[in-house]
């Protein structure tokens, strides 16, 4: 694997599971007193973020540093991009400095794919438009597998919220489907994809209907700016109909788990009590994010897989 642009790049189920197994090694490294290994000494990993994201960027930088790579940040807001430099010129400039990987977030779907064509460095998609966010899907799968694994076959997951605009949902559907889960997408019709493109999922507009059957409820972040697009009437109505409240959790299986990619809108898609309950894997998702990104960086830059 040269780039990680999409969950598809990870390969079939066995290869995904290998990556999840590898992640365990890095979880172990993280637990040490010195949570750092010299594996990627001398490698340079550049974050190139055209959209604000503190957590994903910091997670990747922490991962790179724990592998002893040099983590550089190309800050778009204060750079030549503001002076009108094109994406191609920016990439060529960064590449001319001698780098090994570009971690990229962009508001345009497919932007990292273009960059991958222009550079000899490895490109990791840290979120592109409404398209994909493969490392989020990996950390979600890894986190869930630690609770329900090793096999996720038949695990019933409801993904709730703005599926239509969510790259997390797109990558998670691919990931969880590859791992044998049964998926239900839940939300208002205006926030469901127009076409399901053969996704092996069921769709429901009523959260209360699916509550008793699911093993996991994965809540997507509601983007408040969508209200302006009149895709749902009000925050209050959204919270009433699709928000996961403590009362709704009461009607779920006793071991139902709650996931969220963050940052959470407490009181909208998830009630504060639910977010802080023992069912919630949210903090663990963040912790595992670093280990998953270490596994991805190692696979792309260190494992020597290309020499096989």
């Amino acid at each position: 694997m040269k780039h990680l642009l999409s969950v598809d790049d990870l390969g079939p189920r066995a290869e995904i599971e290998k990556m999840l197994d590898l992640t365990e090694s890095f979880v172990a490294v993280q637990r040490r007193e010195i949570p750092k290994v010299p594996a990627l000494r001398g490698k340079v990993v550049v974050s190139l973020f055209y959209e604000d994201s503190t957590r994903t960027r910091v997670s990747f930088e922490t991962a790179a540093k724990r592998l002893s790579a040099d983590a550089m940040v190309f800050t778009v807001s204060s750079s030549s991009v503001k002076k009108g430099e094109s994406l191609l010129d920016t990439v060529q400039t960064i590449e001319a400095m001698g780098i090994d990987a570009i971690v990229m977030r962009h508001s345009a779907s497919g932007a990292p794919h273009r960059v991958a064509e222009w550079t000899s460095a490895s490109v990791i998609n840290a979120g592109d438009g409404r398209h994909e966010h493969p490392t989020q899907a990996l950390l979600d799968a890894f986190t869930l597998r630690r609770h329900r694994g090793p096999s996720l076959d038949g695990c019933r997951i409801a993904i709730v919220g703005d599926v239509k605009h969510s790259r997390v949902a797109r990558s998670d559907v691919k990931m969880f489907q590859a791992l044998g889960c049964e998926l239900t997408l839940v939300g208002p019709p205006t926030l469901m994809p127009e076409r399901l493109d053969g996704w092996p999922v069921t769709v429901s507009h009523d959260l209360d209907d699916v509550l008793p059957d699911v093993d996991v409820i994965y809540l997507l972040r509601i983007q408040r700016e969508r209200i302006g697009e009149a895709l749902f009437p009000s925050i209050r109505e959204y919270a009433d109909r699709w928000g996961l409240s403590a009362a709704r959790v009461e009607r779920c299986k006793p071991d139902m788990l709650v996931m969220h990619p963050g940052p959470m809108n407490r009181g909208i898609e998830i009630a504060g009590d639910v977010a802080d309950s023992t069912r919630s894997l949210v903090t663990e998702q963040v912790t595992n994010g670093v280990a998953v990104r270490m596994a991805v960086l190692w696979t792309l830059l260190g494992s020597g897989g290309d020499f096989v």
Partner: protein, 187 residues
Amino acid sequence: MHPREHPEPVLRTRVFDDADLRRALTRIAHEIVERNHGPSDVVLVGLYTRGVALAQRLAAAIASFEGREPVVGTLDVSFYRDDIGLRPIAPVGPTEVPDIAGKVAVLVDDVLFTGRTARAALDALLELGRPRAVQLAVLVDRGHRELPIRADYVGKNLPTRVSEDVRVRLAEVDGGEEGVELWGVPE
């Protein structure tokens, strides 16, 4: 028939059978205890894959004559190697090293060759704590060192050519018949 471009390696010498293997490990177990004045300060750290099995056997042997089993740890050196990116490398198993501060850590591996694995193991180990001393026990020392590293305990000094292959077979890892074999491509 056309001459084969890559002739298959063949068995040259059967260096150890299962009884030889047992005797060598018993001797090393005694040497470790003798040199360290008992097993109480000793931590055996096996390097994946076969070093882990050998460390467990050494611990059992020491327990059989000292009545006290030394602590055993496991070490994966993948992320400390100096040939990362030059060949495929994948971690093998979890590193689980008990508290080694002030102890004598005995690294255990099956074959000592270039010394690069032992070098990586030293780096990996020293990040986990500060032992009083580090020693190295190997079943076979086949020569051709590329670093200033030597073993403290050796089951068998085996002169080899670089092109040859020393194969250690242990029941826990490989199944079947146990022993040490020297394989090489016919001239």
